[in-house]
């Protein structure tokens, strides 16, 4: 049943490594960008609040496939953005995909952090202001560190979803797991056994991640 598993021809471990790389870079990027967005959403400058709100509502409501395709079709194929590569398709597509994932996933990170901010008792911010801290420090040193501890569980969910979402990168030809799956199905004409192998791969990636982060979330939770 699994005689199609020709590891010489199909680089199964290589594509899952690409999946992992996509996930890691996108996770770091979206964590940073999502935090900045959350900061904008609670900032004293109305135009930034407005921008962040509109941004989150637009991007979160668009299917990820479309966002990734726009990155490639719009940014690269029309505007000629090569993401600081010399135009080679492989690094360009990879970076475009990471950009797309960041842009999309950051909206979920932003919403998670914003709700995390809601759980921090008002007194914390009031006390911080009372000792004369400006907005950036109130947020950066007092509120956000507490908020992060409360949102580890939702962020873990975002991370798991991101890992699985990387499959969408196949739409612009990044050689990750689901692209190889497509090639194998096209060549070998055995959909279900091939899909089973890849399902197993994703379970290996995401299941321990969920369990581990769930454990971390429990340990880090602020007991109130």
């Amino acid at each position: 049943m699994f005689d199609f598993l020709d590891l010489e021809r199909y680089d199964l471990f290589g594509v899952f490594w690409t999946t992992i790389q996509l996930t890691v870079y996108s996770a770091i990027g979206s964590l940073i960008w999502g935090t900045i967005l959350a900061g904008m959403r609670v900032s004293p400058v109305p135009i930034m609040r407005g921008f962040a709100t509109v941004y989150v509502n637009l991007l979160r409501n668009t299917p990820l496939t479309l966002i990734i395709v726009f990155c490639s079709l719009g940014l690269n194929q029309t505007l000629g953005v090569t993401m600081f590569t010399d135009g080679d398709p492989e690094p360009t597509n990879f970076r475009l995909a990471v950009l797309g994932f960041i842009v999309y996933t950051a909206t979920f990170v932003c919403e998670a952090i914003r709700s995390g901010i809601n759980t921090v008792p008002v007194g914390q911010a009031e006390a911080a202001r009372a000792i004369g801290l400006p907005f950036t420090q109130v947020l950066g040193t007092i509120v956000l560190p507490q908020a992060f501890r409360a949102v580890i569980a939702p962020l873990a969910n975002v991370l798991i979803a991101l890992t699985k979402n990387t499959t969408v990168a196949a739409a612009i030809g990044v050689a990750e797991a689901s692209l190889l799956m497509k090639e194998m199905i096209e060549n070998e004409a055995q959909t279900i056994p091939i899909a089973l192998v890849f399902a197993f791969g994703f379970i290996i990636l995401t299941l321990p991640m969920g369990l581990f982060l769930g454990w971390v979330a429990n340990r880090m939770a602020v007991k109130r």
């Binding site: 496939t65 395709v69 490639s72 079709l73 690269n76 194929q77 029309t78 000629g80 135009g87 080679d88 398709p89 597509n93 196949a170 739409a171 612009i172 030809g173 692209l179 497509k182 090639e183 199905i185 096209e186 060549n187 070998e188 004409a189 055995q190 959909t191």
Partner: protein
């Protein structure tokens, strides 16, 4: 109170849907594998085609289907005794073609379906009815003339397709290859000058070049990079249907309908098609 009402509603819908599925699952399996052989009754026939390949199989704005594959399918169905209005066309995505056949969801598939040994392990083919070659579609006036030059080009093809794999593994390993979800997306890149050529079977490329809004913009390079024998996919080892379809294709070639369909669908693209291939004696 609102919540209770809402939950009651949701619960009843769940119950309904569960019973619906249960009923569905309990019934006997008549449609599952019998669909393919139901053709003899002379009522309707289900044929898998592409919906998104201009010139071969395309769902037009009128909701009809047009293209060479569609014409072949209609002709073959006609010889088998089905009127055009009794043909039901079903989309056959590349990855699902074998499944559609083995499940009996369609009677046969005419969807730029190249005959390959791997595919013949799970389905059988009638035909071939057309010989295509992998080729390049380039902006008019920029077409290259030799295979060696491909290595210097930026190419585009569809994700995971055989054509994309051929480029990387065989004749142009050094060429830059972009892979996109659809040929239309590649065409946008070609139009914008970000890629030099779109590569796949020349039949598909010709279909795009022949489209009204693209006439004169693009041309085929005419490099015969591979041989793709398009066959009509049929359920594995259905030799009776295979013989019938082979006869039908032969008849279509003999009475000139084949050439007429070629001219109608690929005419505006200056596409020099191969003559109708001899029908292979595959079992």
């Amino acid at each position: 109170m609102n919540f209770r009402k809402a939950s009651a509603l949701a619960a009843s819908i769940l119950a309904l849907s569960l019973t619906a599925t249960a009923c569905g699952g309990g019934g006997d399996d008549e449609d599952g594998d019998g669909g393919g052989s139901g053709g003899g009754g002379g009522e309707s026939i289900t044929i898998g085609i592409k919906f998104d390949q201009p010139g071969l199989g395309l769902k037009t704005p009128d909701g009809d289907f047009a293209g060479f594959d569609v014409d072949v399918a209609t002709y073959v169905a006609g010889v088998l005794g089905y009127e055009p209005e009794n043909i039901e066309f079903v989309e056959a995505p590349s990855a699902e073609r074998e499944n559609l056949l083995s499940r009996g969801d369609v009677d046969f598939i005419v969807a730029s379906y190249s005959i390959t040994p791997e595919r013949e392990e799970s389905v059988s083919f009638a035909g071939p009815y057309f010989l295509a070659h992998q080729d390049l579609l380039m902006r008019s006036g920029e077409a290259v003339s030799s295979v060696e030059e491909i290595n210097d080009l930026t190419l585009c093809s569809v994700t995971g397709s055989t054509s994309a794999q051929n480029v990387q593994n065989d004749f142009a390993p050094d060429a830059d290859l972009f892979e996109r979800g659809t040929y239309s997306e590649c065409l946008t890149g070609l139009e914008n000058g970000q890629v030099d050529a779109l590569t796949t079977d020349d039949s598909i490329l010709a279909g795009y070049a022949a489209q009204e809004q693209n006439v004169g913009k693009f041309e085929l390079a005419g490099l015969e990079l591979s041989d793709e024998n398009y066959g009509i996919g049929i359920p594995k080892d259905d030799t009776e249907l295979q013989t019938q379809i082979n006869d039908a294709i032969q008849q279509m070639v003999d009475d000139g309908s084949w050439q007429q369909a070629i001219d109608e669908n690929f005419g505006p693209a200056n596409y020099e098609t191969e003559p109708a291939p001899a029908i292979a004696a595959t079992s």
